[in-house]
Amino acid sequence: MSLNNKNSELGSKKLTRRGLILFGAQAGFMGLLGFRLHYLQVNQAEEFRLLAEENRINIRLLPPARGLIFDRNGAPLAENSQNYRIIMVRERAGDAAAVLKRLSKIIPLSEDDRAAVLKNLKRRSDFVPITVAEHLTWQQLSAVSANAPALPGVTAEVGLTRHYPTSQDFAHVVGYVGAVSDYDLSRIDDPDPLLQIPKFQIGKSGVENKIERRLRGFAGSKRIEVNAVGRVMREIDRKEGQSGINVHLTVDAHLQNYVQARLAGQSASAVVMDVKNGELLAVGSAPSFDPNKFVSGFSIAEYKELNENPYRPFSNKATQGTYPPGSTFKMMVALAALADGVIKPDEKITCRGYHELGNQRFHCWKRGGHGRIGLRDSLKQSCDVYYYEVCQRVGIEKIAAMARQFGMGQRHNLPLNGVASGLMPTKDWKRKNRQADWLIGDTLNASIGQGFVLASPLQLATMVSRLATGRAVVPKLLRNVDGVATSTQAAPALDIPASVLAAVRDGMFAVSNERRGTGYSSRVAEKSMRMAGKSGTSQVRRITAAERRAGVTRNEDLPWKRRDHALYVAYAPFDDPKYAVAAVVEHGGGGSRFAAPIVRDIMLEALYNGKPPASAYPASQRTRIKNERKKLNLRENEA
């Protein structure tokens, strides 16, 4: 190539010029980069710094400890027990299958369990801890810890889980907790972020459900730093939450345990109330179930069995069950009539065994009738005809008004599910709900606690408490919430003359303590503890005239569902009333035969604070009672 000086000089100049232009453009662009850098890092620094923080900081909730529930003496009814868990982190375990196999030699871990855990491990990221086993014993946990070197990636954790030490006794009252469901969430307005935690336990029934918000407490929070895949790097800070508040109920665990044992084997319920302040000492319903199963898990077979049991273990018969009160209602009629002045206490009426109304006959339970009978004896022997006569004189409206003063037909405000309001019918009620006029026959039926009248054992106990004290005492279940005792104001007095109350009380005394009284066989021998009661036997079926002619079929010969309910109510001691007890045995038969003994036993148990002496019972019954008590499934008997 020959050298062309002129050309090369020209080319060289051009090159220099072009080179400078190019460099100038490059420098300009670098300036642009510099400005952009400045913009991002200095002008927009705040905004981006904030976004960087949002990337890496996560807020996790710290679930609070749930409030505890105690009985009146401080015995725990619902507590948080430590749930020992084994968790595994795959990235530290190495050969997960082998580690699990070794683990299965220490704690019960079947092949299926192991396969399930391995599947879970594969599904989640390497660093997410997976639960391997729960509800371990302390021994099992120690064994796992002792073998830690051979079990890489396996750690023990302690969680809190709800536990009911009294098991079946308070299943209906305290209720139970369970995992939050979509249904629960749809019914709650304020979405507490705690409810989003999977398997968070909330109260589903009973006190656990009604005082849920205060028992739950408030969540704490911790701020943690995470990386892009969500792995926790470190905790930055934390704010402790607030544990749920503790609740003391008015119930007595010992008494309740006795009540449940005494009712066992039947479809029955009983309520024990303090007549002075309305505190409920026992609210028993049999059969019951183990609420711990709701926490740990029912087997399908178990749950099916409970659900299909005709005795309905899941329902709280004491507060939800409504029954025709039968003869236990007669006190209301007597009070109404006396207060209204349509009858005097010593006025006598003739009972021929039936009462004719138009062309209908209303029968007394005693075929031949009671003859000439006054108020006292009408209660003592439970004559129906007396009341057929008297109720017509006073009228349903006044009877209803009197009954309402005693809490009948009203829903008492308790922290329980579905507390029944029962039914106290009136003419208006029938017009509105049956689109029919009230008939005199309805009044007659109502006067003996049949027909439309319905009451729950709770309402019966309330009724008797008010009768015993003459005050409008209100049932209470909460004794102490978060250290604050519920108010103990004296209930207002009922607007009923003292003499009227005295006359009726006297009749009840006769029922329990005099020879022809329907409750005599269930009397108390100890004079200072004598009861005043009333039996009731409520029909669930219609007895036809034909059946009456042939002879009314006995309860024992009928299928269970067609037998009469057995009821008994009482208060004691008569001279200085303390407690009222109401018991209902579904389809139990005669009230005096089947409900009265239950009430007596429960009453004495309450009065003597557990273990009543043999002397409280009539001499002839002492051995039998002693043997019966031994057979009961009581906690004391388990020792």
Binding site: M1, N4, L37, F48, R49, N55, R56, N227
Partner: protein
């Protein structure tokens, strides 16, 4: 120019050549590389493995390579550039048929004892070929259409092959680098004006035709453009990288979060932090101060190359120096633009700093050529 032209007395010979190296350039390159190694230490979470130590070793090798190439007289490189270009072209063809895909983009050739990325090599050999062409061509013929077509073909063929790899980013940079060299060589500015106008027209056509029956790109390609223009519209998908990168820049602030304290990088919010996005890590940890310093270092490298090039009276030497400098500029400018959200993500590494052996070595080879031109410049 043959060696006979030069004044043999003034040309440095033997080991003494070492004194005539462009030392400022060497120092600047080493400084940048050291920063790179430091950042790789940081993104590895405070450890020399797996990136920092490997990079350091390769840089060491690179220095040796650079000095080796510098010692070889520049006219030798001029004579072999045609061959080098042809060989690289052959390798590119080879990659088409025998290559394996890595990271979904660049294709490599596994020759058993060494793994080559021909597209990287092409960056240098293309410049060499073009420089040789313009050194050979008479100055007055430069702007004649025929003689303009030839270099265009020289550029276009490897470009197409690289695009097929597929590696759009590298292909575009090859193209722009080549065209810049044509500009410096003195091709009439009219050609460039015409080209710019047609490109603008094309872009306008693409944008305006969107939504009509004649739209020039596919829908998903338009969406890519949308995401580029507003990465926040798809923060978890396509816009994720850029959004995270911008956050990292911002969170660095003026003075940075501190070495190894960059939360975006350390906590893995930033993907590709050891390659494409390493500048982001640097900006987050060392702040604006750190970022602008690196930019300044790069600018100085360019400056010293340009000074050396413009003062080199040998046409080939000047062209090759300016060509290499421009290539270097394009790569770091595009990378920085990309990570700062000024350009779409095209997967271009930051030269001398991003982790990557082949790119580093090829670059050192290029700087070797610059040094060779400098050492052997006519005095």
């Amino acid at each position: 120019m043959s060696y006979l032209v030069h004044n043999v007395k003034t040309m440095p010979t033997g080991i003494g050549k070492i004194l005539h190296l462009n030392w400022p350039l060497v120092l600047l390159i080493s400084a940048v590389a050291s920063i790179g190694i430091l950042m790789l230490y940081s993104v590895a979470g405070g450890s020399f493995d797996p990136w920092a130590s490997a990079q350091a070793k390769r840089f060491g090798l690179g220095i040796v390579l650079m000095i080796g190439v510098a010692f070889v007289p520049v006219w030798f490189w001029r004579n072999v550039s045609g061959l080098a270009y042809a060989l690289t072209l052959l390798l590119l063809f080879g990659v088409e048929f025998f290559g394996e895909i890595r990271m979904g983009a660049q294709r490599w050739l596994d020759l058993g004892f060494i793994r080559l990325q021909p597209s990287e090599l092409m960056k240098i050999t293309l410049i060499m070929a073009l420089a040789t062409y313009y050194d050979w061509l008479d100055v007055e013929k430069i702007s004649k259409p025929v003689w303009v077509l030839v270099p265009l073909v020289i550029i276009a063929v490897p470009m197409l092959l690289v695009v097929k790899q597929p590696d759009l980013g590298t292909a575009l940079l090859l193209g722009v680098g080549g065209v810049c060299l044509m500009f410096v060589a003195g091709v009439h500015w009219g050609y460039f004006a015409g080209a710019i106008l047609s490109v603008t027209g094309l872009v306008a056509a693409v944008i305006l035709s969107r939504g009509t029956g004649w739209q020039l790109l596919q829908d998903y390609q338009y969406r890519r453009i949308d995401t580029f223009l507003d990465p926040s519209s798809d923060p978890l998908g396509a816009g994720y990288h850029i959004t995270q990168s911008k956050i990292a820049f911002g969170s660095g602030g003026w003075g940075g979060r501190g070495f190894m304290q960059g939360t975006q990088s350390q906590l893995n919010f930033l993907p590709e932090k050891e390659t494409d996005f390493i500048f982001t890590t640097l900006a987050e940890e060392l702040g604006f101060v750190g970022g602008i310093s690196l930019l300044l270092l790069y600018a100085l490298i360019i400056l010293f190359c340009v000074i050396s090039g413009l003062s080199n009276r040998d046409r080939f030497g000047a062209l090759i120096t300016l060509g290499i400098a421009t290539t270097f500029f394009l790569f770091f400018a595009v990378n920085m633009s990309m990570v700062m959200g000024l350009a779409p993500v095209v997967g271009v590494p930051l030269p001398l700093v991003s982790y990557g052996g082949t790119a580093m070595l090829i670059l050192m080879l290029g700087f070797g050529l610059v040094q060779s031109a400098h050492v052997h410049r006519p005095r």
